[in-house]
């Protein structure tokens, strides 16, 4: 297969007429900018001397106009191909399509010049293509969120982490280091709860009780969080 292929490629080797034409080309960006000031000269030269070759045409005429989807840089040509079309037929059809697509891109879109180059803003693609994965599902509401929605409870306005401490006359954090929720846990001296001592026979420690209660609340909340996560995974 390989030797057959190599023999045939001579038709598309650099000696082809197309590649000869392309020797003096520049890229589109420079081309477009320079075109404006070179145009008047070109016109006058053409008018004076008829020896110059005629301008290469840039418009494409087809019985059925092309349809474009510029978001995908797509051009759809619904003109029927000639039967038993050769490679050169295909090349000319491709050239016309490329010319039409580039014309469409440069005429309908407004280019913006940046130091990095000339950019064309592309519209959103209109050809529908399937997604890779489904649209992400909405997040499952937590048990509290469902309850709040049922009861019509709105989110509280956040009023910051700091609260005013009446006793010391200072602003202290609600939680965390030296937090308000740890009030009384660091006292060096606490009163004995007489009533409790008479009932249970134990004095009890206000400092320890407060800490245990706080730790218990944290644990409860973590349990609820885990339950919400589990439920959302089950349903979602």
């Amino acid at each position: 297969m390989a030797d057959v292929a190599m023999a045939e490629t001579s038709t598309t080797s650099p000696q082809s007429p197309i590649s000869k034409l392309t020797n003096g080309t520049t890229d589109l960006a420079i081309h477009d900018a320079e075109m404006l000031d070179t145009e008047p000269n070109g016109v006058s030269l053409n008018g004076l001397s008829s020896s110059k070759p005629p301008r290469p045409s840039v418009d494409v005429q087809k019985p059925i106009p092309y349809t474009f989807d510029l978001g995908h840089l797509l051009c759809l040509d619904t003109n029927p191909l000639p039967p038993h079309s050769t490679e050169s037929d295909l090349t000319s059809i491709a050239r016309d399509a490329a010319q039409a697509l580039i014309n469409q891109l440069l005429t309908t879109l407004t280019p913006t010049s940046t130091p990095d180059g000339v950019f064309l803003p592309l519209p959103a693609p209109s050809t529908p293509l399937p997604r890779e994965k489904p649209v992400p599902a909405e997040k499952e509401p937590t048990k509290w969120e469902r309850f709040a929605a049922k009861k019509g409870i709105k989110d509280k306005r956040r009023d910051g982490k700091m609260v005013y401490d009446e006793g010391s006359g200072e602003w202290v954090p609600k939680w965390g280091y030296k937090g308000k929720n740890k009030e009384g846990e660091g006292e060096w001296l606490v009163e004995v709860d007489e009533k409790r001592e008479s009932e249970t026979g134990e004095a009890g420690d206000k400092r320890r009780d407060g800490r245990e209660e706080r730790k218990e609340r944290v644990k409860r909340n973590e349990r609820r969080q885990r339950a919400n996560e589990r439920n959302s995974r089950k349903s979602g």
């Binding site: 197309i18 797509l74 191909l81 000639p82 490329a98 580039i102």
Partner: protein, 326 residues
């Protein structure tokens, strides 16, 4: 189905989050596989597709005992394992010579499949064309020529159009550098003729050369870059309608937010409606007439009010006033 992984550290959590469905999706990854028997021609074709599709492409080299139209389970496994939703499976057999199966998946399940039989006679690889190649990772221009690609009913050719577009469209860009318009993929098919085998799909890639034309638009010339492939259409498995509808769904977040009182009409003109307050008509300047003009003499406000009723110079009231003044 892969086992459910519970992330134990932040890195694996990030990796799992990357695989989750997103509102704005990443470019699809292509996975190239080969079957147990895979001819040299098909292997060359797969290598060329891989080099065109870089960098969002994975190519496996080991042989896989897969028959996609008989059993899809291993294809779905590969799709999930590699997070790839476009797969190309190369295979060769006497019944299906030089066969490339293009497969699309949605949510790691097979969406549609298309078999294309490569014509070994006309196949040319990328390197057989001795010219400069385009840069890696550029968004190509794509053109489809032929009436078959625009059929209102879905057939193998419209499916091929959709799959080829999905395969080669590259990343979704909001703007493109003009210098990046370097190459064009041209896919064409001739007319369908009764009594003859269905027409081949001809896959060509051309480099774009632009010339000065003396006008604002450049003259475009094309030069074939390769590869050159001609395909016969083989078996087709179209997507189930419900799955396709699900796959084509657009997320609500991406819909443009409608602004109140701003519309775009069919001509593409933006129309806004503004509500003004009630106009104060008491200060309205109406037509100026000589008769309505205030005289230079009536400085006195009281007199002016009395004068309003009678315009006529010879009214009895006016006479009386003049008498009083005198």
């Amino acid at each position: 189905m892969l086992r459910q992984i519970v992330p134990k550290n932040a890195r694996s959590k990030r990796a799992l989050e990357k695989k989750e469905p997103h509102v704005v999706e990443n470019p699809k990854t292509t996975l190239i596989l080969r079957g147990t028997s895979c001819s040299q021609i098909v292997q060359l074709a797969l290598a060329d597709i891989h080099s065109l599709k870089r960098p969002s492409c994975i190519k496996f080299t080991k042989k896989n005992d897969i028959h996609p139209f008989e059993d899809v389970s291993s294809i779905e496994f590969f799709s999930e394992k590699n997070d790839a939703s476009l797969l190309i499976f190369g295979h060769n057999s006497k019944k299906r010579p030089h066969c490339l199966t293009l497969i699309r998946t949605h949510a790691y399940k097979i969406l549609d499949m298309l078999e294309l039989y490569l014509d070994p006679e006309s196949f040319r690889t990328l390197n057989q064309f001795k010219n400069a190649k385009c840069a890696v990772g550029l968004k190509p221009m794509i053109t489809f020529s032929g009436t078959l690609f625009d059929s209102p009913t879905s057939n193998a050719y419209t499916l091929a159009k959709s799959v080829f577009l999905d395969l080669f469209k590259g990343h979704d860009a909001t703007s493109i550098d003009v210098e990046g318009l370097q190459y064009m993929i041209h896919i064409s098919a001739e007319e369908e003729v009764d009594g003859q085998p269905p027409p081949q799909i001809k896959f060509r890639i051309y480099l774009i050369r632009t010339k000065r034309s003396g006008q604002k638009l450049p003259r475009v010339e094309v030069e074939e870059m390769g590869p050159r492939m001609d395909f016969r259409v083989g078996r087709v498995r179209e997507a189930e309608e419900s799955v396709m509808r699900e796959a084509l769904k657009k997320p609500k977040q991406l819909e443009p937010k409608t602004k109140k009182n701003i519309e775009t009409d069919i001509m593409g003109d933006k129309i806004g409606r503004i509500h003004l307050g009630k106009q104060d008509l008491s200060t309205l300047q109406t037509r100026k007439m000589k008769g309505l003009k205030r005289g230079r003499n009536d400085i006195d406000e009281d007199n002016a009010t009395t004068l309003v009723e009678g315009d006529d110079e010879t009214s009895p009231k006016r006479e009386r006033l003049e008498q009083l003044e005198a």
